[in-house]
């Protein structure tokens, strides 16, 4: 059912990452989980085109500072202007040539039994867990660059502004499917609770 790319290569050996959930919580039988339609619980990577998208955005964001500081450098510092420019060149190479692919390699997302789990970050490793039960809204966002590369971003919003997560670089064609899947799981999670406990806020 899923056209999503399987994980490429072994998952990043990350001793600090949290395996979630540790076990099936009480009251949830494996059958219930299997009934949920669609995507399974394996770890997924982003679409490879995401790297291209990030590289282009990184390059675009560098243009202004490079032009301004290099111009100032050449005007006021004479030959040292080249040093400024050279420094930028090294930084740009590192940023575009190494950091963006590394970011891509680190990105993993997973639909576990109870939550969307995102793991990413090259320098600062991050893990975000957004339980289906708390999902209030799911948006598909596509910028012009994303449309060109046939990518989409999935924004998962909870009642907490800071606790909302963005899943970048999903293939455009898969995004609606993932969204429907998440909505189904959110609805199911709410239906599993009764009375007061249904109230997520």
């Amino acid at each position: 059912m899923s056209d999503l790319p399987p994980p490429s290569g072994p998952p990043p050996g990350d001793p600090g990452a949290v395996a979630f959930p540790p076990e099936a919580p009480a009251g949830t039988t494996p059958d219930e989980v299997a009934e949920a339609p669609g995507l399974d619980a394996r770890e997924r990577t982003l679409a490879p085109a995401a790297v291209t998208s990030w590289r282009i955005s990184a390059a675009l964001s560098l243009i202004m500072p490079v032009v301004v500081t290099s111009t100032l450098g050449f005007v006021f510092l004479d030959r040292w202007g080249w040093a400024v420019f050279g420094g930028w060149l090294v930084f740009a190479t590192w940023l575009i040539g190494w950091l963006q692919p590394a970011r891509y390699r680190r990105w993993r997302w997973q639909l576990t039994e109870q939550a969307v789990d995102l793991r990413h970050g090259v320098l600062i490793h991050q893990q975000e867990t957004v339980p289906y039960f708390r999902i209030q809204q799911i948006d598909i966002v596509q910028g012009p660059l994303d449309r060109l590369l046939h990518l989409a971003n999935l924004q998962v919003t909870t009642a907490s502004a800071s606790g909302s997560a963005t899943l970048p670089g999903i293939p455009e064609d898969d995004a609606p499917q993932v969204r429907v899947e998440l909505l189904a799981r959110a609805t199911q999670a709410v239906a599993d609770h009764t009375g007061d406990l249904r109230d997520a806020v």
Binding site: G16, T28, Q114, A115, Q126, E128, F133, I135, H193
Partner: protein, 515 residues
């Protein structure tokens, strides 16, 4: 339904600008201001005239708009909070303002009715509460009987504590700037007169002509500082007493009623089941005196600014009692666990970084910028060196305070060096969990974990917990968030099912957004 007289508006719209105009002077401005004032008055009167509201027991309807009519319908189940505010002038005319909050994250209240006769305001609030209680399928009371119990006093803050709170609060730090600014503003307004006063002061030898100033006259600086400090203390007390005087919290069924203010009063209703986060703050001064402040955050975006209900001052030994009122079945601040010693290195690093940066700047700047080569700067160079030992002590204090705890009902985190803040949130309110590890933290085996609850900036941050502790915390909190069935021993289950999630109310998440 609205019968109020727009007298408050008249005063607000006309008198203030006219007074301002006289201060500024100039006939043209005066005319302009009057025209603007009349236009504004007409607009506001029209707005008031066309803004009507009705409440039929289930839906609050507000119609407004002069040319394009808007109707807003608000289901009583979605209402988080009804707040009645009465300014000094409004009390004279028997008026009140109503703000109705829902659980949106918007910064504006959902419904803002600014001029309503006082009885109507209270009637609406009572009606909303009554129908919320009626719609809840089992209005839970302490003894299990049906029906709303009488309101009980939870907390009264005596005037003495309000005064202490004003003097020990952060407002005291802001006021000198405000007072200084006010002096400057008045100086500009009064113009020549101020100059004459300044000259007089210079002649009398009390002040020194700025143009003759070669170095700071420490005696004068000290005098000015003392003067501003005294004024600040007085102003802080006045502001604090006016704002927080007669602060009291009552509990009416499952709602908390918070009232405060001497002249302009403010009454908020916070449903207990909407309490998202409780923060116990103790700055160093209050810690010395044995006091704390407690801030209650509820969902409802625009409770904003001060609307997060803050108890101005509370003896430390009473904190646990208040907590058990705010978070039912929670006996107080839970047992907190300290973080591993590796966190001390991080704390030291965090505090040394700005200190070393400041020292580097102050020592290197005169080398690069010759005009900074001045005796004052030279003295400052030695003074900033003191930052290093000071920050070391602060880092050690911060490490000693770092702790977190998790029980079946709440998650708590404590941090801070000068001002120590303990945040406590019910686990059923946790919306999402994140953790992050920087390269330094990875090397030291530490993790920073953040539990997000609803409301702007409402998070519980567990800084630099041990990796394994953070991992287990992440798992347990995620499990709670995903399936908010309280995990409690069976004998307590009956109590906790209702209490942990609050009373049964008309529930239902926002269908609009998930649909």
């Amino acid at each position: 339904m609205i019968l109020g007289i727009p007298a408050a508006q008249l005063v607000q719209v006309l008198v203030v600008p006219i007074a301002a105009t006289f201060a500024a002077g100039g006939m043209v401005t005066l005319v302009m201001m009057i025209i603007l004032g009349i236009v504004g008055l007409v607009a506001r009167t029209l707005d008031w005239w066309f803004r009507t509201f009705s409440f039929d027991g289930e839906v609050l309807r507000v119609d407004h708009g002069v040319l394009s009519r808007n109707r807003r319908s608000l289901d009583v189940a979605r209402i988080q909070q009804v707040e009645v505010q009465r300014g000094a002038l409004m009390r004279v005319f028997g008026l009140a303002a109503i703000r109705v909050e829902t659980a949106g994250s918007a910064s504006e209240p959902e419904v803002d009715l600014r001029v309503v006769p006082e009885p109507d305001a209270f009637a609406l609030r009572a009606a909303v509460r009554a129908s919320q209680q009626r719609m809840g399928d089992h209005p839970v009371t302490q003894d299990g009987t049906e029906g709303p119990p009488a309101a009980t006093r939870v907390l009264t803050v005596p005037m003495k504590h309000v005064v202490i709170s004003s003097v020990t609060g952060a407002r005291l730090l802001v006021l000198p700037a405000v007072i200084g600014g006010a002096f400057q503003f008045i100086g500009q307004q009064v113009g020549n007169f101020a100059n004459r006063v300044t000259n007089y002061l210079i002649e009398q030898g009390i002040a020194v002509d700025p143009s003759e100033l070669t170095g700071p006259d420490w005696r004068l600086v000290a005098m000015g500082a003392a003067g501003i400090l005294v004024l600040s203390v007085i102003a802080a007390i006045v502001v604090g007493v006016l704002r927080d005087g007669r602060f009291r919290i009552d509990r009416d069924g499952e709602d908390l009623h918070v009232s405060r203010g001497l002249i302009s009063t403010r009454e908020s209703v916070v449903p207990l089941r909407r309490v998202q986060l409780v923060e116990v703050n103790r700055n160093w001064l209050r810690r010395l005196l044995g006091y704390a402040t407690v801030r209650i955050r509820s969902a409802g975006g625009s409770t904003g600014g001060d609307g997060r209900v803050t108890v101005p001052l509370l003896p430390e030994q009473d904190v646990d009692d208040l907590l058990s009122e705010l978070l039912p079945n929670v006996p107080g601040i839970p047992e907190l666990h300290a973080h591993p010693t590796a966190a001390r290195r991080r704390a030291l690093f965090r505090w040394w970084r700005p200190a070393l940066f400041t020292i580097a700047v102050v020592w290197l700047a005169p080398e690069l910028l010759p005009f900074l080569d001045h005796p004052v700067v030279e003295r400052a160079q030695w003074i900033v060196l003191a930052l290093l030992p000071i920050n070391t002590v602060l880092a050690l204090v911060e490490y000693r305070q770092l702790a977190h705890g998790l029980t079946e009902l709440v998650v708590a985190s404590r941090r801070g060096a000068l001002s120590i803040s303990t945040s406590i949130a019910p686990v059923v309110k946790v919306q999402a969990v994140t953790n992050r590890r920087s390269p330094f933290q990875r090397r030291l085996g530490l993790t920073t974990l953040v539990a997000h609850v609803a409301g702007p900036g409402a998070v519980i941050e567990v800084l630099d917990a041990g990796r394994d502790a953070a991992r287990s915390l992440h798992q347990r909190l995620s499990a709670h968030a995903a399936s908010p069935t309280p995990v409690v021993p069976d004998r307590d289950r009956q109590v906790d099912d209702t209490a942990a999630a609050g009373p049964a109310g008309p529930s239902g998440r926002s269908e609009a957004s998930t649909a």
